[in-house]
Symmetry: C2
Subunit: 422 residues, 2 copies
């Protein structure tokens, strides 16, 4: 398993067996897929001690490598987190099966009936970092949507992911589904990722989940289409016609509910004609929650002890309790700022003016645009789509939260009674 | 315009101005876009003589280069073909505008309303070969779907395409839309294509239209997602439970209505248990139309004077009056053959057995699967989708005919009244 040649052979074999498993999965019933998910959930509970032991090994190695507190916390498993994984699998079993859905059906004047029917994409490659629970989530979402998956976890969580993965395989076996429907790359060799990204024709789509450098590498190198977002530079724009209480609540929640998620606000835009009204109470509320503020010149006229924002701040995803604030020339100025500095993820306007809101919702070119709501609602679960595998900022295929439906394609079924084309 | 550096600069500038035009187009009304299409149609008729003169130059150069009859015919414009282009633009103006369509809308328990709304993809690059009418079709489909386009025609049709393109620009001007909404690459330098394929971030999607070597180059080189099909190796499977008359009609129509289109049948599969019943009348009907037949050993037992098919024949898209024929072990054998040799384009079963048909429609993994219908119906117009820019065999984004709807993405609009996430 050490030479580049061996890894190439391994990855090709994994791709081929995933493709074969995908053909069987595409024909599997909802009952079979759900049975596998429920059996895997049961296995997670039964093998809890094995998983905790594997996780203890990962934690020990991680501490030895000097990993920091937040990273160690992401890696850690305990009884509660294992139970959350198991009930997560059960929740995915509860979701409606998208495969076989007739999305549309119509008759042609010549008597042909045409239906557009949902089918799985095929084989999905998932590349993720330290959180070991992604093994269960990602494998399960792919399975329920009828797709085979090839998982590549981070090296820190190698033992934990392997132990969780064995429970997924147990589920597949119990349900009579092919073991290779979910595969975990057995080596941490870095070249395995490169090989996976080159398996065009065997792998249909790559979903990277992790930090910016991972996503960047995958987007640059992949020969297979990638569904992901690089940045979540989300904005809230407080319009002159905003309701003050809503503006304060939405700004505080968008930034501070959780600062480390992609839907967290990173820049607050305020209509300059109303900055004196809105900025002081919003700034006070954010500071009270422990948020550092970095403002432009106009903001610092109003609140002189605020730090100065540099040009770089407008392009920075802090993922931390830091916020940049800028005064803009009304909704036009907000739209312009977002076009220049946004990442097409999630942006929200606070206003009581319906016309201004429509302008913002229509013209801001982001996967999710909001009116009078916190950017932290940018989440498949909050959208009612069930679990998500991530959020896509690309416009091809799926945009926004990627749930079961977004992991499918379709085909046309045409039914005739002997029609030929004149 | 001669150095590589100049061409890189040119293509970057075209990409940037297309991106700016796309932002304006995304906000344009249906009326404006239709006005541009109708004015362009009018300009095509008004400038008919200029277009014919430009085409005469192309034809002269082409003859000098020794182009063959079929290629010259594809290049030729006459009054009828110009009128067809003009009325094609008018037909696109008649189609419903997909942009702004609310695809779905739902309320969440917390009072948020979520809508999924169609938006244009952005900037579309179209690379095509000799037919100059693609200039009008492709530019118009992109315009109606709110997308800016960068067109790259073949060198043979350079003068014709330029003359047609000027009519499109006239239409944009008349309707007050940005001229750069449709751009035609002004150089035939080959490196311009390479630069276009590298404009990720400025160009959202590439649609190549032409021969296999063009598609192959584009699919291999492009940094931008590609929507296309490489091959159209379409099959008709005649089941033992087929109706004889339907089988003969569908086989003849699928092969011989037009042999040069991607939806033409290239391989006929026959249930071996019923080959003696079906093969002779089908073969006779095809031969009467002038089709060369290449059969496997079993076929040649039944019709000894048939040419022998080689292994290569099963993977060949003839685009000509040639057909390979193979006896297979029922619907299972047909599905297996198509999985091994098909190109995921269009495949049809002829049978009166509903169960067998369902098996075929469910398990053949092609963009279009048919029951008792000719493969030549694989066409956006025949599907009732209006004009199409091509057929996609990929599973990402659009599969099957690519019409106006398939040239769009969507965004989520979330409307609240101050909601924050707990």
């Amino acid at each position: 398993m050490n030479t580049e040649h061996d890894i190439r052979k391994l990855m090709l074999a994994m791709g081929q067996s995933a493709r074969e498993a995908a053909a069987i999965l595409a024909e599997s019933t909802t009952e079979q897929k759900n049975a596998a998910l429920l059996a895997a959930a049961k296995a997670l509970r039964t093998h809890k001690d094995d998983i905790l032991a594997a996780n203890a090994r990962d934690m020990e190695i991680a501490k030895g490598r000097g990993l920091t507190g937040a990273m160690l916390d992401r890696l850690l498993l305990d009884n509660g987190r294992i139970e959350a994984m198991a009930s997560g699998l059960e929740a995915i079993a509860e979701l409606p099966d998208p495969v076989g859905d007739v999305m549309a059906s119509w008759d042609r004047p010549n008597g042909l009936n045409i239906s557009r029917v949902r089918v799985p994409l095929g084989v999905i490659g998932i590349i993720y970092e330290s959180r070991p629970n992604v093994t269960a989530d990602a494998g399960a979402l792919c399975l329920k949507s009828g797709n085979a998956s090839i998982l590549r976890g981070g090296s820190e969580s190698a033992h934990s992911s392997r132990a969780i993965y064995q429970c997924l395989v147990k589920g597949l076996e119990d349900a009579g589904l092919p073991e290779d429907a979910i595969q975990l790359i057995p080596t941490q060799d870095r070249s395995a990722v490169g090989e996976l990204l080159g398996l065009a024709g065997l792998v249909d789509i790559i979903v990277p989940r992790g930090g910016k450098s991972l996503i960047e590498r995958v987007q640059n190198e992949s020969k297979v289409p990638v569904m992901a977002h690089l940045d979540g530079i989300c904005h809230v724009y407080v319009d002159k016609d905003a309701d003050l209480e809503k503006a304060v609540n939405i700004a505080v929640n968008s930034k501070m509910r959780r600062t480390g998620i992609c839907g967290a606000m990173e820049t607050l835009l305020i209509d300059e004609t109303a900055a004196e009204k809105f900025l002081p109470p919003i700034a006070a509320a954010l500071r009270e929650k422990g948020c550092e503020l970095r403002g432009d010149a106009r903001c610092r006229e109003i609140i002189p002890d605020m730090n100065a924002a540099s040009e770089e701040d407008w392009d920075t995803e802090y993922l931390d309790a830091i916020l940049s604030i800028r005064c803009v020339d009304g909704v036009e100025g907000a739209i312009k700022h977002i076009a220049e500095h946004g990442s097409h993820h999630t942006d929200s306007i606070v206003t009581e003016n319906a016309e201004t809101a429509a302008e913002f919702l229509g013209r801001v070119d982001s996967a999710i645009v909001m009116h009078n709501a916190s950017t932290q609602f940018a989440d498949g679960g909050e959208f009612g789509m069930g679990a998500e595998i991530g959020i896509s900022t690309g416009k091809m295929h799926a945009r926004g939260p990627v749930g079961l439906e977004q992991l499918t394609s379709y085909k046309y079924q045409v039914r005739g009674n002997g029609q030929t084309r004149p």
